[in-house]
């Protein structure tokens, strides 16, 4: 009879049952979608970071940021005999490889210090560089002629836009990013999240050799293939492989990858590195390793992945903020309203059924039996809401995954100098070099078993709360008063 009575009562109060179930369904669907989007955004953040820092990097060690006025910048120096002069015009071409002018470098021995630190399982060092090629024609005497010196200097970063003409000349500057890496270590660092799409990877035999890997997007844009050579700091470097990100929607960390010692030599930077990528023994030991490294290397900046996550910007950042703030609060508010509605309607239902419950108590029903009846009805309403909410939520997830919204992610940090130079001309001024890794990432909303658990859990919770209030009200009814109230 319990089930029959329950079913008949719910069917007899279709309107109330529908309102409660739909309210809970909307709330649960919202929670499911927001939950899935949050997971999707988290995955997107991880993707954005992996494309820059590689898979498995827990910490990065970088040089301190350069003070304003320090660090210099891209600079081309020409001797009076450089170039070919014809009439009043000198044709010049020069390629330089420079470290990041915004951030200081670290002595290469830092890698040994990091590797020797307790809790570190793997580490690799990289030198972040930018190769710039100046080519064009300048009036004989160059810029230097203007102030009477014998030698000329091309514009440096931060000066006037380095393109166009100057006193009748015409020139351009092309740049691409270069990352010097340890060819023997691929488990951690930028190459941990790439795959060879053509040619071969670098290996320990390539140390000191003029060989390089090229990012697939950069290679495609500039029509570079395995076996070609590119000019890096005036040297011909052979392309031995093309690398692509393991993520479909992101580029790799740099345009060109050189063996670390080759990069150090070509840039003339000496025995230095820009970033050391660190893998800790376990997630639990990351904080301890970070503290130990900060103590060991007081002049360096030690950054954790969670701190790196905050460097992800662009529309992905907006999406994160929107989902975290608006989505979460919206879910909580709608859920609270739905549960409140459910409680109020249940209480109202108990009040309307005072005579019914009084009669049931008069014919021998105990308080517990009446409470179980009321709670059971609320629970079933909640479960109906949960089932509908689950269907709505999954539909929402499917729609999101079909629409495949893309969010722009830009990760700033240690490996500044993403594939900003794609052969085109820098845009001039202070923004000459990009300092962020930008990518359009497809936002996926993954469905996990936890979503199912959450839906059922919330439905049961909503039903329990409403049932508890309704049952409490029903239990408090004195049978005599309940019957008297309608006498």
């Amino acid at each position: 009879m319990y089930g029959t009575y329950l079913r008949r009562e719910l069917a007899g109060r279709k309107k109330q049952t529908m309102i409660v179930a739909i309210g809970l369904a909307i709330a649960i669907a919202l929670v499911i979608v927001v939950n899935a989007l949050t997971a999707g955004v988290r995955d997107a953040q991880a993707q954005a970071l992996e494309s820059v820092y590689g898979v498995g990097t827990d910490l990065t060690v970088t040089g301190a940021a350069a003070e304003p006025g320090e660090g210099g910048g891209q600079r081309f120096d020409f001797g009076s005999e450089d170039g070919a002069t014809e009439g009043d015009t000198t044709t010049l071409s020069q390629s330089t490889l420079m470290t990041d002018f915004m951030r200081g470098t670290l002595d290469a021995t830092v890698l040994d210090t990091v590797t020797a630190t307790d809790g570190v399982t793997a580490a690799s060092a990289a030198l972040s560089l930018t190769n710039s090629t100046f080519s064009g024609e300048l009036p004989s005497g160059g810029f230097g002629a203007q102030d009477g010196t014998a030698e000329g200097t091309a514009p440096t970063e931060g000066d006037a836009p380095p393109q166009g003409g100057a006193g009748g000349g015409s020139f351009g500057v092309e740049s691409f990013t270069v990352l010097g890496i340890d060819p023997a270590v691929t488990s951690v660092g930028p190459l941990a999240s790439v795959e060879i799409s053509d040619g071969r990877a670098l290996d320990s035999d390539d140390a000191g050799a003029l060989v390089a890997l090229v990012d697939a997007t950069y290679a495609s844009t500039n029509e570079i293939a395995v076996g070609d050579t590119i000019d890096v700091a005036g040297s011909d470097v052979e392309i031995v492989g093309i690398v692509a990100s393991t993520s479909d929607s992101a580029d790799t960390a740099a345009n060109v990858y050189l063996p670390l010692d080759t990069a150090q030599e070509l840039s003339g930077a000496g025995d230095v590195v820009s970033t050391v990528y660190v893998q800790a023994e376990s997630a639990a030991s990351i904080d301890a390793v970070q503290t130990a490294l900060a103590d060991e290397l007081p002049d360096a900046t030690v950054t954790s992945q969670s701190e790196l996550a905050s460097t992800v910007s662009g529309s992905l950042s907006s999406a994160t903020s929107l989902i975290t703030n608006l989505g979460t609060w919206l879910s909580i508010i709608v859920l609270a309203v739905a549960v409140l509605l459910s409680v109020l309607l249940t209480l109202s239902g108990v009040s309307r059924r005072t005579r019914e419950f009084g009669t049931l108590k008069a014919i021998g029903w105990s308080n517990g039996r009446v409470v179980r009846q009321v709670a059971g009805e609320s629970m079933v309403q909640g479960l109906i809401g949960g089932a509908v909410g689950l269907v709505l939520g999954i539909t929402g997830i499917v729609v999101i995954n079909l629409v495949k919204p893309t969010v722009a992610a830009a990760a700033a940090g240690a490996a500044e100098g993403g594939p900003g130079g794609t052969g085109g001309r820098p845009t001039g001024g202070g923004g000459m070099f990009q300092t962020q890794q930008a990518a359009d990432i497809v936002l996926q909303a993954p469905f996990t078993p936890w979503v199912l658990v959450a839906a059922v859990g919330l439905a049961v919770l909503g039903g329990l709360v409403a049932g508890a209030f309704g049952g409490w009200r029903a239990a408090r009814l004195s049978p005599a008063e309940a019957l008297r109230s309608v006498a």
Binding site: M1, Y2, T4, Y5, R8, E9, A11, G12, R355, E356, T359, L360, K361, A362, I363, G364, W365, S366, N367, R369, S478, P479, A480, L483, R484, V486, A487
Partner: protein, 241 residues
């Protein structure tokens, strides 16, 4: 079929022991700021198998007395016994058990659950009993047959006349085989022919051993009783003679 088929408890009652014995029973209520004395000192003895009616003016305490007799409420003072059980000091659990096993209620407004069929309404009174589904179904069928509604078991209350609804309510009251049947204005909502039909049914149940206590305003109902009580100003008078 008679009540003997479905009410062995009623037939097994010891006629020597009064079914109810009330001594100096009072019942007062707090109603907002004032105290209402519904019963001021009721002394009463009812023997098994009696058909007792309680009459009196509106607000005279009839329904209050019926609720005390039905273990729905407790006296404010005095002693009220159902057989050997002191209702005034019984626990809530014991009162629930008594309502579930020993007392049947019939209300003026029938108080059937509108979403359940006649048979399901009757079955609701067996919910507290530990009976098998088959036994419950058999008892429900017997009770409905006893009130002449064996062919109306699957009808909803709205599909039945007032008299039929009251007969369903009586079937619900007797299906648990109670010792006492308490009825509060059982014919108040019925026309004359239906009233007689219900009274005949109640008389028949009483003749089969169930003690019948009926609150009524209707003198025609009171005339069918073996004993007539009048409740006025919170006390009971026997006006049978």
């Amino acid at each position: 079929m008679t009540i003997a088929d479905i009410a062995p408890t009623a037939n097994g009652t010891d006629a020597a022991v009064p079914i109810y014995r009330a001594q100096s029973v009072t019942r007062t209520y707090r109603q907002k700021a004032r105290t209402v004395k519904a019963l001021t000192g009721v002394d009463l003895t009812i023997d098994p198998g009696e058909f007792v009616t309680i009459q009196g003016p509106t607000g005279g305490g009839k329904s209050t007395l019926l609720q005390l007799l039905g273990a729905l409420d407790k006296p404010s003072s005095g002693s009220l016994k159902l057989g050997d059980i002191e209702l005034a000091s019984a626990s809530a659990r014991e009162l629930t058990r008594i309502r579930a096993q020993e007392i049947g209620f019939v209300f003026q407004g029938f108080n059937l659950i509108p979403t359940l069929t006649a048979a399901e309404n009757v079955n609701m009174a067996l919910e507290p009993a530990s009976l098998s589904r088959a036994e419950r179904s058999a008892r429900v069928a017997q009770a409905l047959a006893h009130v002449g509604l064996d062919d109306r078991g699957d009808h909803l209350p709205t599909e039945l006349s007032g008299g039929q609804q009251q007969r369903v309510a009586i079937a619900r009251a007797i299906v648990k085989r109670p010792r006492v049947l308490l009825a509060d204005e059982p014919t108040g909502n019925l026309d004359e022919s239906m009233r007689d039909e219900i009274l005949t049914l109640l008389e028949g149940l009483c003749a089969e051993g169930i003690t019948m206590i009926v609150v009524t305003h209707d003198s025609a109902v009171a005339r069918r009783a073996t004993r007539r009580l009048r409740l006025a100003k919170g006390t009971v008078q026997d006006i049978t003679r």
